[in-house]
């Protein structure tokens, strides 16, 4: 996985343009946007990501971009190791062979892609406003979030903290933002550990 913030609107520039007017951070965040290159995540992760429908996405298309060397283009979950890894890759190999055979027999890429696994890597451009980004961190930095999108949310958080440290100082999972866990009986009960992690200004 690779995450890079490509561009954003600057709070400093906006505040400088409105010298006599007090605008709260929460109000300003609604008018700011952040654009990220999100690369080499699985289709599992991108399916979760696009559920944040207020964001804008431009994703690599499997209709237009052929999948080559699938074995090298899949995300492997950390729990898949040892014997499980052999089974995992034999399924990937089988999917790869089916895909290539279908394309070779004249089936269009848009139809051949139906046999590709959820593990297949994808990359995309993501743009989101500041307030929605804060909400995204609240949900997806949470220890209850799935590991890949949590890793993605963390990387995005460290990237925005570098350019807007003051606005995103309090950003992180909702327990860190609110001071209490909103997950009820599903709480991980690790608020202290979470607070230590997200109170660091940058990734340590």
């Amino acid at each position: 996985m690779r995450v890079e913030m490509l561009s954003n609107t600057s709070s400093e520039a906006l505040r400088a343009a409105l010298p006599d007017i007090e605008v709260s951070d929460s109000e300003l965040l609604r008018h700011m946007s952040f654009t990220f290159a999100v690369e080499s995540i699985s289709r599992v992760c991108s399916h979760q990501l696009v559920r944040h429908r207020v964001a804008s996405f431009s994703q690599q298309s499997q209709r237009y971009i052929p999948i080559r060397r699938l074995r090298e283009r899949v995300v492997v979950p950390p729990t898949v190791d040892g014997e499980a890894e052999d089974g995992y890759f034999s399924t990937v190999e089988a999917a790869s062979e089916s895909y290539e055979a279908l394309v070779a027999s004249g089936v269009s890429r848009e139809d051949a892609r139906f046999v590709l696994p959820n593990a297949t890597e994808t990359s995309l451009l993501l743009t989101i406003d500041g307030a929605s980004l804060l909400h995204f961190f609240g949900l997806r930095c949470c220890y209850r979030a799935q590991w890949e999108i949590r890793e993605l949310a963390d990387r995005m958080l460290w990237a925005v903290r570098r350019c807007e440290p003051s606005l995103f100082k309090g950003a992180g999972p909702y327990c860190y933002q609110l001071g209490h866990c909103p997950e009820g009986r599903f709480s991980c009960d690790r608020m202290q550990e979470v607070a230590e992690k997200y109170s660091k200004e940058t990734r340590g």
Binding site: R2, E4, L6, S7, N8, T9, S10, A13, L14, A17, L18, I21, V23, E27, R30, H31, M32, S33, T35, A37, V38, E39, S56, F57, S58, Q59, Q60, S61, Y64, I65, P66, S123, L124, L125, T127, D129
Partner: protein, 138 residues
């Protein structure tokens, strides 16, 4: 009604070109963006091929304006165009923001003073896109 452009996402046309090629080229978006940054001719070449039905590539940005308008004018705008974002700064002064897709769609459907002022903003931040709109390509 008066509109002053306060700020915008840097490298807007490079981002449009990056979005256009991310979906179809197979290159990574960060690689594409770095290729486009500072290469205006290359960016112009890609953005000038933009097509109306692919408006989502115009969403990777935001423009912020200081709007001076009455409550009625702002209410009228928001009721018709829900993708504009507005915060009241006091009196008849508002912080207005939107992405280029919203702006381009407004210009395409409404001919009024706001439309003219928004077009001036596009000319400043995305001149190639401005030319495309004038040729009625977008």
């Amino acid at each position: 009604m008066r509109l002053d452009l306060l700020g915008w996402t840097s490298g807007i046309e490079a981002l449009i070109a990056t979005a256009m090629l991310t979906t179809t080229s197979g290159a990574q978006p960060s690689t594409l963006f770095k290729r486009f940054e500072g290469d205006e001719a290359r960016v112009r070449g890609v953005v000038s091929k933009i097509e109306a039905q692919h408006g989502s590539v115009l969403e990777h940005n935001r423009l912020d304006w200081l709007l001076e308008a009455s409550e009625c004018e702002v209410l009228d705008l928001l009721l018709r165009w829900r993708y504009f974002n507005v915060s009241r700064l006091g009196g008849d002064r508002w912080l207005l923001s939107a992405n280029l897709r919203t702006v381009v769609e407004y210009i395409g459907e409404v001919e009024d003073n706001l439309s003219k002022m928004l077009m001036e903003s596009i000319m400043l931040v995305a001149p190639t896109l401005h030319d495309c709109i004038r040729r009625q390509q977008v």
